[in-house]
Amino acid sequence: LCGSVRGLAAGPEAHFGFQSVTEAERREKIYQVFESVAKKYDVMNDSMTLGIHRVWKDILVHKMNPSPGTLLLDVAGGTGDIAFRFINYVRSIRERQLQRRLKHHQNLSWQEIFESYQADKSKSLGDSQVVVCDINKEMLKVGKQKAEHLGYSEGLSWVLGDAEELPFDDDKFDVYTIAFGIRNVTRIDLALQEAYRVLKPGGRFLCLEFSHVSNPLLSRLYDLYSFQVIPVLGEVIAGDWKSYQYLVESIRRFPPQEELKAMIEDAGFLKVDYQNLNSGIVAIHSGFKL
């Protein structure tokens, strides 16, 4: 069962966790999963990963190391975790830039200092921008509410769109990220092609996703945790066993590191590499459009 349909789902056959379904059914089922979990998404992430998902996402943005002025497209970005981190990151870089600049201008007149504050105030992000694109209305709704609640507004926009058929023009973005989303895409090859298309030449593709643990002992513990604990947490916290059963199965179905690397290369990306986190429970894949 595991060997047959691996990631590409070439024909009309696809997988939903360990079930065999048509592509259309898969999309529908996955939509319903996220519609159902949207409001509890963040709570569940914290519970299932004991908060470690936050570290994984921090590492992703640090690896990105965006400079002010970067244009980011965050796909499957639903509740905004990557987007908010991106904004925090460029904001702090920008603040440090401004402070450094001030230090070097100790001999300015008060008028000059005043003017430099005026100029910089309107660019606290330094023209950085992030577009969050997700196929699921409920997830975007949660994300937008979170943004309002946390005070994120500048440089942030939301689009309801399909990773396999992006509504963005060619060669537009500096960075494309997809964190814990590519696993839920039905045609991963199409999503990768679209990622390549919308990136500027020199742009970077970054994918954060559950991956393959090769250490046999750790793998056994991980399986135990995944299949015994996670669906129970799902039922207790979100009242939804089945969605989390799907989650666990979809992780098992997803291509391992080397296979995903090959798929990314097939889409045209160069210098493709990956970094395992927590022994491969999660991996960050990176590639460039050169």
Partner: protein
Amino acid sequence: GQGLGSGSGSGQGQGQGQGLGSARPQPLEPSLLRFLVCPLSKRPLRYEAATNELINEELGIAYPIIDGIPNMIPEAARTTRKKPPAEDSKQP
């Protein structure tokens, strides 16, 4: 005319951006128009303030903007012509 504050996707008269504390009928984030294209044809779109939609004239389809979020899923788009447009999106 002006959309009323029901937050159900009815647009304002002008296609203005931020400021004015526009909490209800949220207009489209104007910077988005730089990147957005029709997902089917990848061709530019026209923002129609009256209906708060993004129009692809060639294919005769319109994408709705709801709560300031453009819905760019092809299935969600409505046709703007009385007759349905030509089948394929591969137009010259």
